[in-house]
Symmetry: C2
Subunit: 117 residues, 2 copies
DNA sequence: CGGAATCCTTCATGATACTG
DNA sequence: CAGTATCATGAAGGATTCCG
């Protein structure tokens, strides 16, 4: 048993790097966004929105901005009218996929336990 | 690109099992609780609380109850005065540890990126 | 089309006091 | 010692409107 020290990094604070990871990929939408981006080269904003019918425009924009700031997602703006913006995973963003798989596999097992009751 | 369907399981809803996992181990305290429980055979409530100086009694109780309901944590009450309650990981609870390690390792890498700026 | 801005609701978390 | 109960607060998420 040891005391927890709390690290501060910019405006972020966490007591272990597990929490740090959860801050980057956690929340209601980020895992799904990353999942969709992982299945294709890139997606336009509208395409991403269509594949997540329940997300609001505000949340999608906000979550994409955070993923971009953390270096997982690339945002490419085409200078044209009407606007066209494409999102894709960065090289670093690809490294989160095994982690998501790990989460998904455990979730599958847990789901089976739920349904076997 | 495919539409998301939303699954409902009891009072829980999720569009993929990644979210399901995050519902079980996410939040501000659960990863840390699981970490501490993984380092020893079992811990009394007070010991756990001492190792997490910033958690309130209410949150610790609440999070432990949820982990217990989801089958990750075992709660053993000794019929004595003053009360003694010991918490430990269940066999199923042990299966979450590789997932937490995966999260921690990625978090370590991400932390290095943060600090190399 | 892909946003930004504003306001509002809900939920997670916290502070405090009390108890068998 | 290991809780419960109650009230308060802040952050996350959502609805709506407007814009280049």
């Amino acid at each position: 048993m040891k005391e927890c020290t709390i690290k501060h990094n910019g405006n972020r604070s966490y007591s272990c790097t597990v929490e740090l990871t959860l801050q980057v990929i956690g929340g209601k939408w980020k895992p799904v966004i990353l999942y969709h981006l992982s299945r294709v080269d890139c997606l336009r904003f509208g395409e991403l929105k269509k594949s997540m019918p329940n997300i609001t425009q505000k949340m999608l924009t906000q979550q994409l901005r955070e993923l971009e700031q953390n270096g997982l997602v690339n945002r490419e703006v085409y200078a044209q009218v009407p606007p066209k913006v494409e999102y894709s995973l960065t090289t670093f963003g690809l490294t989160i996929l095994p982690v998501l798989n790990s989460l998904r596999e455990w979730g599958d097992t847990f789901e089976q336990r739920l349904e076997s009751v």
